[in-house]
Symmetry: C2
Subunit: 232 residues, 2 copies
């Protein structure tokens, strides 16, 4: 079972790491973090670095594909011909093709959501229609055949448990839930846009606008980092 988690400059780390931590528990899995080249990937905080372990070219037949979203810049990835060509090429052969958060827009840009129900981060929800998808703003996880989309960021954990149950059975998913002690007790109840006040919603939109990062900074950082890491 080969699991390919796409990583890209400016991605939101938790979109990938939540599901990863669940799926890492699959027996006989091979986990890959896939990008155009192996090496360090700078995420949307401009502080956290994740490692790409394999290239798209090295990964022609993954069983599971997961594409995370980005608070900084999803558009560059949606317009990236390598990413889109790879998604179109691998999707017909996957067992499941999945997204978290604004990663759904990348699946959309690849033409995979045409006529399908899907979800994404609440701020990205209106954009789903651009790709012919049918937005499901109240669903945390939407499955349509072998395509599974999750709502924003932390929803990837719920998505991965749903996926794990289908891959390995309910008990395996329950074990995974217990191992990551996923018994959520958030101190507030503002996790869904329908529950947050207009003031909190406005403040969230303002903060997201501040998070946008210059894509050039994210792209030039990896080689500088790798050199620094070797010097020490």
């Amino acid at each position: 079972m080969q699991i390919a988690i796409v990583v890209y400059p400016g991605m939101t780390a938790l979109d990938a790491i939540g599901p990863y931590e669940v799926l890492a528990g699959i027996r006989d899995r091979e986990l890959r973090f896939v990008w155009k080249e192996v090496g360090p990937i700078v995420t949307d905080s401009n502080a956290l670095v994740l490692g790409a372990t394999h290239t798209f070219a090295e990964t022609p037949r993954p069983d599971i594909v997961l594409i995370p979203g980005s608070s900084a810049d999803t558009v560059t990835t949606m317009a990236d011909s390598t990413v889109i060509a790879w998604l179109r090429s691998v999707h017909p052969h996957t067992r499941f093709t999945t997204s978290v958060c604004s990663g759904a827009l990348v699946l959309g840009a690849a033409g995979l959501l045409e006529g399908r129900p899907a979800t994404t981060h609440w701020m990205a929800m209106p954009m789903l229609k651009t790709f012919g998808a049918i937005p499901q703003p109240d669903a945390r996880v939407v499955q349509d055949g072998k395509i599974i989309t999750a709502a924003g960021v932390s929803a990837g954990i719920d998505m991965a448990l749903t996926l794990m149950a289908q891959l390995e059975g309910d008990d395996a998913a329950r074990v995974a839930q217990l191992i990551i002690e996923y018994d959520p007790r958030p101190p507030f109840d503002d996790g869904h846009v329908s529950k947050a006040s207009p003031e909190i919603r406005k403040a969230a939109v303002r903060r997201m606008a501040r998070l946008a990062i210059n894509p050039r900074d994210l792209l030039s950082a990896p080689k500088v980092l790798a050199r620094r890491w070797l010097r020490r």
Copy 2:
């Protein structure tokens, strides 16, 4: 506000990345991923790599410290004199010193939990007493003054929201919750050990035993990786 997240070979990524994704939203924060040297850190899946951005020596006065746990090997870090000396040296000056999962055992090994209530991953709970801590097996987040400990893995998200509310006010924490769309709806209810059946608990313990990794593999990997990353 300098936030120092400790990273180490064999750590559980979600322990750090859950809270990181919340705390990244703090205004004027400086996020650091701290280890003995900067460079790639191989986590407990032996597939995911996180980047250490700063050394302990470069980070003498963090405002917030977070130490994650490990499913593969917490003991090596508990016995690491550099980690322990750093924790003892920075703790008197922090605003908050925090742990997720078995990271509490590292705080314990540094002598910081003596006589204090604390929590950790349910499998590590009995070990808290070794360090004079008072285990709180039913609590997801335990705060005792400026020390905050979280239960297993995903509990770090709840912990970080609690912490954010104290640092920046309830509204800032609510905004952070909405941005990561933390409106959990797990498909099962096995997240706490008291809710899981004896069979699921036994299977979880068996799987954790399988996860143990040879620490030597984790320690030799980073330089090999950095070289591979530069070659491409």
